[in-house]
Subunit: 207 residues, 2 copies
């Protein structure tokens, strides 16, 4: 019995599904890209979409492109961990792809909004959720202005959304303040390393 316990702890643990959310301008995409580059076994989640492929995009790398009809068929068959409609196009995270990567021991990073994260947590409670916070509201505003891609109107909307999104921090497992990019990346890295050591991930769930 104890030797079996030991053996169980020595086998290669399964992968992880990691959900990252943040208000726009908090730096979630930059952090995710750095983590993917620096940490072995970390992969970016590849969504399925019903929108048309754009020049330069690669099917199976940027997105998996399917028809609207095929996407809807898959929704009915409960093929997605989460899905959403954005500007009349459908986007979703396929369960089969996630399960496949996890069985290979991969850590999947999924950058997603708070609503999508909520769906994922329901469908996949073992997921790890991280909320990225800007150091302050002033700093968030400053970063959005610096980007220079937002109209004044869109800026106001984004700031208002950020104020609403903060309320969801409490539903996440971890919060990382992006005061400095390297610091924030190191924290996300530590979270991934720590989660791989969590005992409940090795134990067979009670039935």
């Amino acid at each position: 019995m104890p030797t079996r316990t030991l053996r169980k702890f020595l086998r290669k643990p399964k992968g992880l599904l990691v959900v990252i959310s943040a208000p726009s301008g908090a730096g979630k995409t930059t952090i995710a890209l750095e983590v993917i580059q620096k940490v072995p076994d970390v992969v970016r989640s590849i969504s399925m979409t019903s929108r048309s492929i754009r020049p330069g995009e690669i099917n199976g790398k940027d997105y998996v492109f399917v028809s609207q009809k095929e996407f809807q068929r898959r929704i009915k068959l409960n093929h997605f961990l989460e899905w959403a409609e954005v500007h009349e196009n459908l986007y979703g995270t396929p369960k089969s792809w996630v399960n496949n990567q996890i069985s290979k021991g991969k850590i999947i990073l999924l950058v997603i909004d708070v609503q999508g994260a909520e769906q994922i947590k329901q469908a996949y409670p073992e997921c790890v959720s991280i909320f990225i916070l800007p150091p302050s509201m002033q700093e968030l505003k400053y970063r959005l202005i610096k980007r220079n891609t937002e109209s004044k109107e869109s800026l106001t909307v984004r700031i208002r959304n950020a104020m609403i999104e903060y309320k969801f921090v409490k539903d996440y497992d971890y919060a990382v303040i992006n005061d400095d990019l390297n610091n924030a990346v190191e924290k996300v890295r530590a979270i991934l390393a720590a989660e791989k050591c969590r005992v409940h991930r090795w134990l067979t769930p009670k039935k």
Copy 2:
């Protein structure tokens, strides 16, 4: 409301109480000493004891030395997170010292056996518990023999105890396999960094 949430997340988080257990020979003390040396804000827990001070020991650094009578008075007053009798001497972890260090933002490392850890977890459920595992039973035996401090009888007892202690892994938050010292130290470090990002540590507990 959202701004308050943000402000809450930006305040300095409290410290942590970290419990480390392992069968003898797994390397828990070496790992703890390395972590204390390498990670800022990590301190070793200082126990209170009723045994006499030995030459070279410093009161308040190695232990806090008190009389048997004083120790027993404190047990009655519920002053300890955990206590135990070893060879007719009393040893315990004072609550006041732990609370004081935690309010200063310190991370307290407490190397303790599975029974002591059980007491701590009951008295202080916010604690983080780590179980250190040797890479294999063969390796554990080899390390104990190499130490050359154990009689053959004592070795058999230690191996038997190790087999029993493994059963408790399931009650710990994290398991770290000490296959390589640097690896194991990095994992413990990651656990401490990750735990400081855990959202539930910032939130006021529900009443």
